[in-house]
Amino acid sequence: MYAQMVKSTGTGVKSREEMSPEEAAFQARIDAGEKIEPKDWMPEGYRKTLIRQIGQHAHSEIVGQLPEGNWITRAPTLERKAILLAKVQDEAGHGLYLYCAAETLGVSRDEMTEMLLDGRMKYSSIFNYPTLTWADMGAVGWLVDGAAIMNQVPLQRTSFGPYSRAMIRVCKEESFHQRQGFDIMMKMAKGNAQQKAMAQDALNRFWYPALMMFGPSDKDSVHSAQSMAWRIKMNTNDELRQKFVDQTVPQAEFLGLSVPDENLKWNEEKGGYDFSEPDWEEFFEVIKGNGPCNTDRLAARNKAWDDGAWVREGLMAHAEKKRARKMAAE
């Protein structure tokens, strides 16, 4: 998933007694597993939280094109180049579905884009890390898409209809992304010494940033409790992080690569691995804008938007002329 630390409005989950009749009816629908559709009544907080979350997710898909786009022109074979192009194209498509889902809540794509470009809206911290070697294309697919899937699979059951349907389409493509990433890693891990070193280096650099994708522990967070009550968030950050580690460690072993955590140990009692927390101070710095690539990523998106202004204006002016000519002819 690509949404972290999404703030919900309000101060916590209201009890039934505190809810208005409308709120109580709304919560009852959610509890019964019904989907909420755009024209249905919804609490303002639900709408706002969803806009933040879906918007952040959409922006992550868009900014997420950059670290992988960085290697399309240097892909080592024609097949790898084609696969990577297809993957990045999918991501732009995911951005499109998600913006459409958010638009049903009354915010336009242009408004959301402006908010991304001036820093009012966020995107996932992971895309503020650089892709330095070809192995990073493997690590991004394997770890980053792998972590994203952990979150997106349960979100297929989220309470907001358009978001849930967007997630169903996204998930189908994401599993292909993760497989292609793992396949790149496998080729490299079984390749020559240089390739193997590159693969290990990519794992070393992406491991902790991937763990950060789930966000800090949210057991005490009022925002998470409200989002979970609304079924906008389906699992706690810690549950998903644990699941991700348990799934990924055996894959790393299969590749013959070592996870960069000396505290990593199977815990028989809990039936999962014990592992080290990522450096949360680093995480908060990245969120604040002080990660390795924040400035460059936002600058690239701003440049694309500014340089493209004449194209958008030109095409709109043409559409307008065409309409005027058609009306004059009628």
Binding site: P76, T77, K81, A92, G314, M316
Partner: protein, 253 residues
């Protein structure tokens, strides 16, 4: 010219066009003016790289030296490339990229359509698949050229500048040499000059709708499809594209 040698040259010409243009278009990834254009550009690049795999795959087979399409793409130097100069020209702004695409697509569709009747079944099969993609590319690039040409004052000026810059490279598409003569003789490919009239008609129609003016026809700038004189741009493109294969020789990816 011997038939096999001419055939190999022809396959390189087809495959290098799509390889180099596909690469150029892929440079846009993540930087397009709107999301729909990011998707469309990636899609175009993807089609072109797919066509490259087929053309260069067949070239390697015809060459018979045990090479692969990847060897041809990543391990030849600039003088061995046989693409039109047009496709190696830099992206420039979005208008220049789409004008380059339109000029190429308008020729590519005619070429592929003719190749579907090639005496060589393998060529005809590749062309039959590629012509569907190219037709779609032409619809889109022509529509964009029209939209931006007949848009605002600024978009019009930018599209006219792009056309003025790129038009001198159009003539190369229609130059014939000994390779072409051998291919025509064998019924493999059409005479390039034979495609000119229909190409000019497409151009006239689209440019008029786009309110753009065709520049005066200067001497055609050639040297790409025969490899005699590429532009300075190609070397830089290859430096990026071939870097992995050059830096880690023999590794599999």
């Amino acid at each position: 010219m011997a038939r096999e040698a001419a055939f190999y040259e022809f396959l390189l010409r087809m495959g290098d066009n799509t390889l180099i243009l596909g690469h150029r278009v892929s440079e846009w990834c993540g930087h397009a003016p709107v999301l729909e254009e990011d998707i469309a550009l990636a899609n175009t690049a993807l089609d072109l790289i797919g066509q490259t795999q087929m053309w260069l795959g067949l070239a390697a087979e015809v060459q018979g030296a045990g090479k692969t399409a990847d060897d041809l793409a990543f391990l030849r130097d600039a003088w061995d490339f046989r693409n039109l100069l047009l496709v190696e020209m830099p992206n420039g702004d979005f208008g220049q990229t789409l004008m380059r695409q339109f000029l190429f697509d308008a020729w590519h569709v005619l070429q592929l359509r003719a190749l579907t009747a090639s005496s060589d079944d393998r060529v005809a099969a590749i062309a039959a698949k590629a012509v569907k993609e190219a037709t779609y590319h032409l619809d889109r690039s022509a529509e964009t050229v029209i939209g931006l040409g007949d848009g605002t004052e600024e978009s019009h000026a930018r599209m006219q500048a792009a056309l003025d810059y790129l038009y001198p490279y159009v003539g190369e598409m229609f130059l014939s040499d000994a390779v072409d003569a051998a291919l025509v003789e064998a019924g493999i490919a059409p005479d390039p000059a034979a495609l000119r009239a229909e190409f000019d008609a497409t151009l006239a129609r689209v440019l008029s709708e786009a309110t753009l003016t065709l520049p005066a026809a200067n001497r055609a700038r050639g040297g790409g499809r025969n490899g005699k004189m590429h532009t300075e741009h190609l070397g830089h493109l290859l430096t990026t594209m071939q870097w992995m294969q050059r830096a880690y020789p023999g590794a599999t990816w």
